[in-house]
């Protein structure tokens, strides 16, 4: 067991964790933050995407002990802060989610794109950026529409 101390969604968390526990399991099983989902646990599907010190990472490929001293943000945190409110509203209105299992990871990946892309309205660029997040339900077009609509609205604002 290793003692870790980190900030999760603005709250200080102290815990004793086994070295093999990955961050997504830590968030889900220890902290009850079940909005971070697990789809493959080998870094491919993107369902466990969270922010670690501001950068998006696969929660299944980061060990909890590696998050020592870090700032972790999950879908619960960015929802409560209101940071993604426009993107969430766009996803909802466009029906850019069906079962909703990929949605938290998709949302964090899309938010990262919106924050950093040279042209966040470029549909091909949206598709390329989201290609690390698997969605079996929607066929992606509605997701691309929602991200593009959010980018256009932010640009107009």
């Amino acid at each position: 067991m290793t003692a870790i101390s980190l900030i999760v969604n603005g709250e200080r968390v102290e815990a004793e964790v086994p070295a093999r526990l990955h961050l997504a399991d830590f968030l889900r099983e220890r902290l009850g933050l079940t909005g971070t989902h697990l789809g493959c646990e080998h870094g491919v599907c993107g369902a466990c995407t969270v922010r670690l010190d501001g950068a998006i990472v696969r929660g299944c490929l980061v060990l909890a002990v590696q998050a020592e001293g870090c700032v972790v943000e999950t879908i619960e945190g960015v929802s409560d802060s209101g940071e993604l409110a426009d993107l969430q509203e766009a996803f909802w209105r466009r029906n850019a989610l069906q079962c909703g299992y990929c949605t938290p990871g998709m949302m964090l990946a899309a938010a990262d794109f919106l924050a950093h892309a040279p042209d966040p309205t470029d549909r091909a660029a949206i598709r390329a950026h989201l290609s690390g997040n698997y969605c079996r339900c929607t066929g992606y077009e509605a997701i691309v529409d929602a991200v593009e609509a959010t980018a256009r609205a932010r640009r107009a604002a």
């Binding site: 493959c40 069906q98 079962c99 066929g139």
Partner: protein
């Protein structure tokens, strides 16, 4: 009742989906109960082996372990099941147990189970279990499995042929072969699987004090599982509660009985505490139901003018070592031969389907069961025949599709069609895609060495099944759905229904039809689904039945509630019930629309001041109805898809440029949700077209059981999808809705296959195997 400003026809977003954008869903894999422990499985590394001694003792010594089980330890705790139904005549299978007894018959079959304080500890302990195996020859190839002298996977069944069926109509194969033009093609369709993003998941909670079992299960069919669990565990149905929480994708994967899930449920009863089992991705790839995996020899006969005389088809499919329970593994092949040629007017038909046991993962129903196979075979044959006769693919279909005024009618295979719209859909598709312009562009690009292809695929789709699907064969699988509508104390409506939600939007659809029947806004309807303790018995979600069957049940329940409310209002207002109506939540005079009383006021009186009601008036503010279609076995839908692709003749890569769908699902309750069902379905079909394949070696080992190796469609490879509609409501129900959930998947791969072959045709190359990998393209071109 219909129209954008009315509940039915409104493109409203799903009220219950906002929480999912915030990560505030509750999936089975999220549920944690007091004293909960976790199950992990030791699975067979062999496709086929005798099991010798099993030593569980080392696992028992491991940290956190509370129970270790093999088949002997579960003896008497869960009855075996056999996946046969009487209407699939001759279908045979062997008893299947939660943990393998005596033999393992596929790689990944559960052999032993450990239950421990954490999943990690359960896995640690499972590795310590010692199992002696005596490997047997794997039976991988379905044709070899049928060869004389092939070892029977279940010796007591005699051979490996699980099921066979033939159809002969008109002049049969002889008439097909006597046609002026005959095309014969050999098809190979890969196995694939659902790859739900949330793996199968459950928390089983046996309460020894109550003598009741609660199972939180990622499922499409809570009531079916209640019945299955009662049957296999020897309990009464009232002792079992199945709760279907949010489900992270299903697509037909989550309607089957799986051995590991039954073992985890049995463990909860033995240990008298909650047990969670969540499959990991490897367990999903090797343990979830696989689908497709067909080899088809098929012929079409056409007259000189391109008129189709008939089809002959021979389908061979390997389904693993058992027929799945309780829906069997014979349905897909059965559907293939029921559906080949379905959109067309032809006289002669000969078909054979053979379903074969083999030592690979089990196969059964998955989204659009059989349709993608039947559609790809049919449409490839139609296109090839057109090519040989020098007829444009659109013109070929215009000459052969069943006329829009020919209904009702039946196909040579015996499928009954109430009313379809093939020609109207094709006309709309040609307009929507600007077919002539695309052909002109194609010709121009071809001159410059760019290999564009345009592929058309008409299809029919089975939706709204009645009892013909399973019930007539003796399965306790409900084709009917129940709904109960209730007026709450504030005058809003609460609907409980047997239909279920996995993200399609069932909850929203039911709110819309309930609102339409009641005369209120959908925002005033609360819909509750997925709890066998609380909802009326119903079939749940499969075969595109949620809106058409579940929706009609809700409409009828809400209509009955409306009648009850109006009767009560009439007694309060001293009016005739038929002189009153409910509009926008207010009871009004039917003539003139003058407001008489709000639903809130009526609910207040009924709930809190019944003493003021006239003597003898008994408010009945709740009404239930059950619905199942009875006139037709299925409500067939139809449509047509088109793919535009570009083939790189040097690398073999196929790029999807655009996809078009025109579909007729009858009444469209919510255009937003219908279109997204179609898009999602299309993309699953595009995965089959280009990427998806469960690859096995000759030893029966799955070679690509990770998400890095099994390719699924991702955002970058997928095209935008343009959708149009033709609307032919079914007259069998009030709402007139047919299903739409599988239509996209039914024909997407067929359209791509035809498009690729359209691109390759000038080079004299042709592909008849899915997925269309770069290697296959290059092979067809004679390169590499």
């Amino acid at each position: 009742m219909n129209g954008a400003d009315r509940p039915i026809g409104r493109a409203m977003a799903r009220p219950d989906a906002r929480r999912l954008t915030q990560g505030r869903g509750l999936f089975a894999s999220d549920i944690a109960l007091p004293r909960m422990v976790h199950a992990a499985f030791l699975r067979s590394p062999y496709a086929h082996a005798e099991i010798g001694a099993i030593d569980l003792a080392p696992a028992r010594e491991m940290p956190g372990v509370v129970g270790v089980f093999d088949a002997a330890a579960l003896e008497g705790r869960c009855a075996p099941w056999v996946g046969v139904l009487t209407h699939l005549k001759g279908l045979k299978s062997a008893p299947q147990y939660p943990l393998a007894r005596g033999r393992v018959r596929f790689q990944g079959e559960p052999v032993a189970m450990v239950v421990a304080a954490s999943r990690a500890e359960a896995e640690d302990a499972a590795e310590r279990i010692l199992v002696e195996y005596e490997p047997l020859a794997p039976v991988v190839d379905p044709l070899a499995a049928l060869a004389p002298g092939a070892a029977a996977i279940h010796p007591e069944l005699g051979d490996n042929l699980a099921f066979a069926r033939t159809i002969e109509a008109g002049g049969g194969a002889a008439a097909v072969d006597a046609a002026a033009e005959r095309v014969a093609l050999e098809f190979d369709f890969a196995r694939h699987t659902g790859v739900t993003l949330e793996p199968r998941a459950l928390v089983a909670d046996w309460n020894e004090g109550e003598q009741r079992l609660t199972v939180h299960l990622g499922t499409q069919v809570p009531h079916m599982f209640q019945t299955v669990l009662a049957t296999l565990l020897g309990l009464a149905e009232r002792q079992i509660r199945v709760i279907g929480p949010d489900v992270g994708g299903s697509f037909g994967i989550k309607i089957h009985v799986y051995p590991d899930e039954m073992a985890a449920v049995a463990a909860s009863r033995i240990l008298r505490r909650p047990v969670r089992f969540v499959a990991d991705r490897l367990e999903s790839f090797t343990g979830d139901i696989h689908a497709r995996g067909h080899r088809v020899s098929a012929r079409i006969g056409v007259a000189e003018d391109g008129r189709i005389e008939g089809f002959a088809v021979d389908d061979l499919t390997g389904v693993g070592p058992y027929s799945a329970y309780p829906r069997t593994s014979a349905v897909e092949a059965n559907q293939v031969i029921n559906l080949v040629g379905g959109p067309y007017d032809f006289a002669h038909y000969a078909a054979r389907a053979r379903v074969v046991f083999q030592t690979k993962a089990m196969m059964s129903q998955y989204r659009a069961v059989g349709h993608p196979i039947a559609t790809a075979v049919t449409e490839a044959l139609v296109d090839e025949a057109a090519r040989r006769r020098g007829i444009d693919p659109v013109e070929m279909r215009r000459r052969n599709l069943i006329a829009d005024d020919a209904y009702p009618c039946a196909s040579p295979a015996g499928m009954k069609f109430e009313a379809l719209s093939h020609h109207a859909c094709l006309d709309e598709l040609v307009r929507l895609m600007d077919y002539d312009a695309l052909r002109a562009e194609q010709a121009g690009l071809r001159a410059r060495g760019v290999w564009r292809g345009i592929g058309i695929a008409s299809f029919i789709e089975i939706t709204n099944p009645g009892a013909a699907f399973y019930g007539v064969g003796g399965a306790r699988i409900a084709a009917q759905d129940g709904a109960t509508a209730r007026l709450d104390a504030a005058g809003d409506v609460v609907l409980h229904a047997g239909a279920t939600e996995q993200g399609q939007g069932t909850t929203t659809i039911l709110a819309q039809v309930t609102a339409a029947a009641m005369g209120v806004d959908p925002a005033r309807v609360l819909v509750k689904l997925g709890d066998t303790d609380a909802t009326p018995y119903g079939g749940g979600t499969w075969a595109s039945r949620g809106a058409g069957v579940g929706g009609e049940a809700a409409f009828r329940a809400a209509s009955a509630l409306r009648e009850n409310v109006l009767a009560l209002a009439a007694s309060i207002l001293q009016a005739a019930p038929e002189a009153l109506d409910i509009r926008d939540g207010v009871i009004v005079d039917a003539a003139g629309g003058a407001e008489r009383m709000s639903l809130a006021e009526l609910a207040r009186i009924a709930h809190f001041r019944p003493d003021t009601l006239p003597q003898g008036v008994e408010p009945a503010l709740v009404a239930s109805r059950h619905y199942v279609p009875r006139e037709y076995p299925f409500a067939f839908t139809n449509g047509v898809q088109a793919a535009v692709v570009e083939v790189d003749a040097e690398t073999g890569f196929v790029r999807l440029l655009k996809h078009f769908v025109v579909e007729d699902c009858g009444t469209i309750i919510n255009p937003l949700l219908v279109d997204e069902q179609i898009r999602g379905g299309v993309v699953q079909g595009l995965g089959a077209a280009l990427f998806e394949e469960c690859r096995y070696d000759s030893e029966g080992q799955m070679l690509n059981a990770t998400m890095a190796d099994y390719l699924v469609p991702m955002a970058a490879e997928m095209p935008d999808i343009v959708i149009g509609h033709v609307c032919t409501p079914t007259r069998e129900s009030h709402i007139g809705a047919k299903g739409v959930g599988e239509a996209g998947t039914a024909a997407a791969a067929a359209a791509v296959l035809n498009a690729v072959n359209d691109a390759l045709a000038p080079r004299g190359a042709r592909i008849t195997a899915l997925p269309i990998t770069p290697a296959r393209v290059l092979e067809a071109l004679g390169i590499g």
